[in-house]
């Protein structure tokens, strides 16, 4: 995806690509092509005894066709990408905070994983004051402990494995 904070240049060929439907078309075609590539060795079978690959390959071909139509329509007359410019912080740090939680929950337990998620997650937003983050962390750690460990009694590891 391209940033659209600069107004698109009508003469540039790139601005054709920065249209919603063109990008959506590319997305569908890309996914379909990937699916067809991955399923290239799946047995197709016959319509009476359908193999592993029968339905997936059929769907991929349909998706490829639909994606192509979306793409062509977008090229002929499409709306430019609107909306706010893409900033990397929320886009990377929101999934990043979950990733950190996932990688630490087993070995380091709930408390450490939660603190990491809040720490990384707080960098994704704007204007979060350090004091607010500390208070949020305290409140949320207590809340998750009370709801999930104490209340629901889930078998979640709380402290690091030492």
């Amino acid at each position: 995806m391209t940033s659209d904070s600069v107004p698109p240049q009508p003469s540039s060929r790139w601005h054709l690509l920065a249209r919603k439907d063109v990008l959506a078309g590319f997305m569908f075609v890309g996914i379909a092509a990937l699916g067809l590539f991955l399923s290239r060795n799946y047995p197709i079978g016959t319509s009476l005894r359908m193999g592993t690959g029968y339905v997936p390959r059929l769907l991929c071909w349909i998706l490829l066709g639909l994606g192509a139509v979306v793409l062509i329509r977008g090229l002929r007359a499409g709306e430019a990408m609107g909306g706010p410019p893409l900033r990397w912080r929320p886009f990377l740090l929101v999934p990043g905070s979950l990733l950190a939680f996932a990688l630490t929950i087993h070995e380091f337990g709930l408390i450490v994983a939660t603190l990491l998620l809040i720490g990384i997650g707080s960098l994704a937003g704007r204007e979060l004051r350090p004091l607010e983050v500390v208070i949020a962390a305290l409140v949320l750690v207590t809340m998750t402990y009370v709801i999930f460990v104490w209340g629901l009694g889930l078998p979640i590891q709380v402290w690091p494995d030492l």
Partner: protein, 502 residues
């Protein structure tokens, strides 16, 4: 009629146990709480809170989940009226006149009419469900695999046509959902599909990571990227909740019209709350003596759509409960929840688990009553909640998503999958590819493949079976007709008009 009462008696017997009443109350409260918070719609709310209900008995879990759904739905209306920020598409039209009323100091009557209208609609819709589910389930149980395949195809296509946005992109999203549903081990041949060699994917993509990622996380990323919106929270204290006699006189015909319209539209695939509220607003404007009042605080503009969206939200349970066909994304979540509880949704549920079925129907009515009781006196608390700034809110959402997904299978990989679907969900949002049809496809994918295979075995591999069977043929013709109709230029512009109301 006798059946109706004995069925409802079974239902109330289950729903009125102290434990289940408690779960309904907790569901309604938590649903309202999360639904009131701006920037979290009912789909995201239900998806996020889904894991909490897995630890309960199936009946209790579903009762709580249904409560969460109504609560979130109703909480969204509160936000719409007080802040002019629809938390969900189904309360977009409520904003128009509801917020104007609030600015004129009439937030109380607006909220009261929304609550009472919704309650009336809820009672009526519950009765409809009790009346029409048994015959529909009877029809459903006579269906064979070819009929089911065609019914699902019709359901998916209708869902696409009646939803807003580009039809062709929505169809592509359905196909994408069907494909995602096929990931993992193929039950028939034993082969693994699209698992990228990952053992964790051989069981397929989890329903919870997909739903929470696309609907919950995707929304968070979008909200963080959007410029900070100035929330025009009505600062005046909400006083004088009770509507005047004049308000009642103007509102009740709108409530009845909205309820009727919503009940009909809710049953249709793709219908449900959103379509119902938009259509009701258009209808109210059409029948009004003085349409210019709309947009300036007309009470019918709140009463009609609010009754309609509640009626539609409820009757959309009918096809889900009786045929196992989800009409919208929330019903797809319900099907996912049922499946996780080990219940295969379809016509047999009513016969085999009457307490579950009727208990849920009865709890719908109880849930609606609770919402009126919860919402009107507690409105002050919900108003306070609206002041929580988003920069603090999203951290709790992130944490809740992560822990919620983790608790389902204690598998950290599913959190990573959630993060991936979160990014994908944001991309869908930016490219205006509706994720709801994808979720429907995802839920129906494996079932459709199974019915297709079975149908082919019945006919020894001849696809003509779908056309030779009259019911199947009728369903397919209906699906085709819908696609043709929506492609007609005149209808297309009308369709856009209905969703353009704002």
């Amino acid at each position: 009629m006798g059946d109706l009462f004995s069925n409802l008696a079974i239902g109330f017997g289950v729903a009125l146990t102290p434990l289940n009443l408690g779960f309904a109350l907790v569901g309604c409260l938590v649903g309202t709480l999360v639904g009131v918070l701006p920037g979290i719609g009912p789909i995201a709310t239900v998806a996020m809170l889904l894991p909490l209900t897995f630890y309960l008995e199936p009946v209790s879990g579903l009762i709580m989940l249904a409560g969460i759904f109504y609560g979130a739905q109703y909480g969204g209306s509160t936000t719409a009226i007080l802040v002019n920020m629809p938390g969900e598409t189904s309360s977009v039209v409520t904003c128009i006149d509801g917020h104007q009323m609030a600015r004129q100091g009439r937030a109380g009557p607006a909220l009261a009419v929304a609550a009472l209208g919704s309650f009336f609609a809820g009672c009526f819709a519950t009765l409809l469900i009790a009346l029409f589910s048994p015959p529909l389930a009877k029809i459903g149980s006579s269906f064979g695999s070819p009929e089911y395949f065609s019914l699902m195809a019709l359901g998916l296509i209708a869902a696409v046509v009646l939803a807003h946005g580009s039809v062709i992109k929505a169809v592509a999203m359905v196909i994408l959902g069907l494909l995602l549903g096929l990931v993992g081990t193929d039950g028939q041949s034993g082969g693994t599909r699209f698992s990228f060699g990952l053992v964790v994917l051989s069981d397929g993509i989890g329903f919870v990571p997909l739903a929470i990622g696309v609907f919950g996380l995707g929304e968070v990323i979008a909200n963080l990227l959007a410029p900070e919106q100035s929330r025009s929270l009505v600062d005046k204290k909400v006083t004088g909740i009770w509507p005047t006699r004049e308000d009642f006189r103007q509102a009740w015909p709108a409530v009845i019209r909205g309820t009727t319209l919503g009940s009909i539209l809710g049953v249709l695939p793709g219908g449900g709350a959103t379509l119902s509220s938009f259509a009701a607003y258009v209808l109210e404007k059409k029948v009004a003596k003085d349409p210019s009042r709309f947009g300036r605080g007309a009470i019918e503009g709140v009463a009609g759509p609010e009754s309609a969206n509640n009626a539609g939200a409820q009757t959309s349970f009918i096809p889900m409960l009786t045929l196992g066909i989800p009409g919208n994304a929330v019903m797809a979540l319900m099907i996912g929840a049922l499946t996780i509880h080990g219940i295969q949704p379809g016509p047999l549920v009513m016969a085999e688990r009457p307490t579950l079925f009727w208990g849920m129907v009865a709890s719908m009515w109880i849930g609606n009553l609770m919402l009126v009781i919860i919402n009107l006196p507690l409105i002050g608390i919900w108003v306070q909640l609206l002041r929580v700034p988003y920069r603090l809110l999203y951290l709790s959402i992130l944490l809740f998503c992560a822990i919620g997904v983790y608790t389902v299978n204690n598998n950290p990989f599913e959190i990573i999958l959630t993060a991936f679907f979160g990014v994908l969900g944001y991309v869908f949002l930016r490219l205006e590819c509706e994720p709801a049809p994808m979720l429907l496809g995802f839920v129906l994918g494996p079932l459709m493949e199974e019915h297709l295979r079975r149908a082919m075995r019945i006919s020894s591999g001849d696809p003509m079976i779908f056309i030779e069977r009259p019911i199947s043929l009728g369903l397919l013709i209906a699906a085709l007709a819908l696609l043709v109709i929506v492609a007609l230029p005149h209808i297309r512009s009308k369709r856009e008009e209905v969703f353009q109301e704002s």
